[in-house]
Symmetry: C2
Subunit: 175 residues, 2 copies
């Protein structure tokens, strides 16, 4: 599987128009992307989480200002929304983001399980201004032995035993 | 592209034996996975970040105890290591994790850019105890219109203008 085939699978779907309220939320995410850049927080990305017509979480990229490579706009907004709503699940929320989520943020979104995601710029447009999203998408599909960062699999009986203990444990809290 | 083809692309590579020191780090990650489960922090996952033979960051899963869907072991360990080392890049570090990283953590790892990743359990073993890693890997490769969480692309001139401003800005800090 190569980069171009991965891209081919991910062409944006054509969608309906946004309502004025939805456009307002998308433009708030874009405004945050501008503010984050202007204030030196990090890259030009912003995000809001919306529940029942109200913003419950906001974020802009803060990687370079906080020395946290995970502080992307979506991760920051999801963490803030979850803290505010006292939950680790955003089932009845929508996420508006100024750019198509990178693989890390896509994963974070799937774990938070919102209702939908609305985005403006694409991963290809991010790649054009030198953000590695598209490279990481292609690495995910590379055979593990061909990845630019070497991944080594070392099965371990103790690790497997922890998984088995979890699975047998009736008190486990699923997420 | 379907789930089985994604799996086929990602078979673990065969690797050499770990040194006694490397095994110690992997087993520390496994120990953290057990401790995190036993203390009710979250799922059975642990991770350490190692630089020059020393652990500089540790983490276990804390999703359910902190209401943070992004608090996976790898994200927690990467954030701790970056804070300690005062950097957003872990170029000379190795990451030892009790389980193959999920897509979110894989993305976090690529943004942190460590030297290598060593893991014990696989994504398929995680799926067998009801963690959605494998599902999310397949969703990444689904056409956006076929995803279980709807993604909607709405190009916006203001969003594009922010990207262009970033690209033209000589003071931008790359990451």
């Amino acid at each position: 599987m190569n980069n171009s085939s991965a891209n081919l699978c991910n062409q944006p779907q054509s969608t309906n128009m946004l309502s004025p309220e939805q456009l307002k939320f998308l433009e708030r995410a874009i405004e945050l992307s501008q503010q984050g850049m202007d204030s030196g927080n990090g890259g030009p990305f912003g995000c809001v989480v919306v529940q029942n017509g109200k913003i419950v979480g906001e974020g802009n990229n803060r990687v370079t200002s906080t020395n946290d490579p995970t502080a992307h706009a979506e991760v920051v907004a999801i963490r803030e929304a979850c803290k505010k709503l006292n939950t680790f699940q955003l089932n009845d929320c929508d996420i508006y983001t100024s750019c198509e989520p990178c693989p890390m943020c896509l994963g974070a979104i799937y774990w938070a399980r919102p209702r939908s995601v609305i985005y403006a710029n694409t991963r290809e447009e991010a790649a054009a201004i030198e953000f590695d999203d598209d490279f990481i998408y292609s690495e995910i599909n590379a055979a593990i032995g061909d990845r630019k960062i070497p991944f080594h699999h070392h099965p371990n009986k103790k690790a497997k035993a922890v998984f088995e203990a979890w699975h047998k444990w009736s008190g486990r809290k699923k997420y």
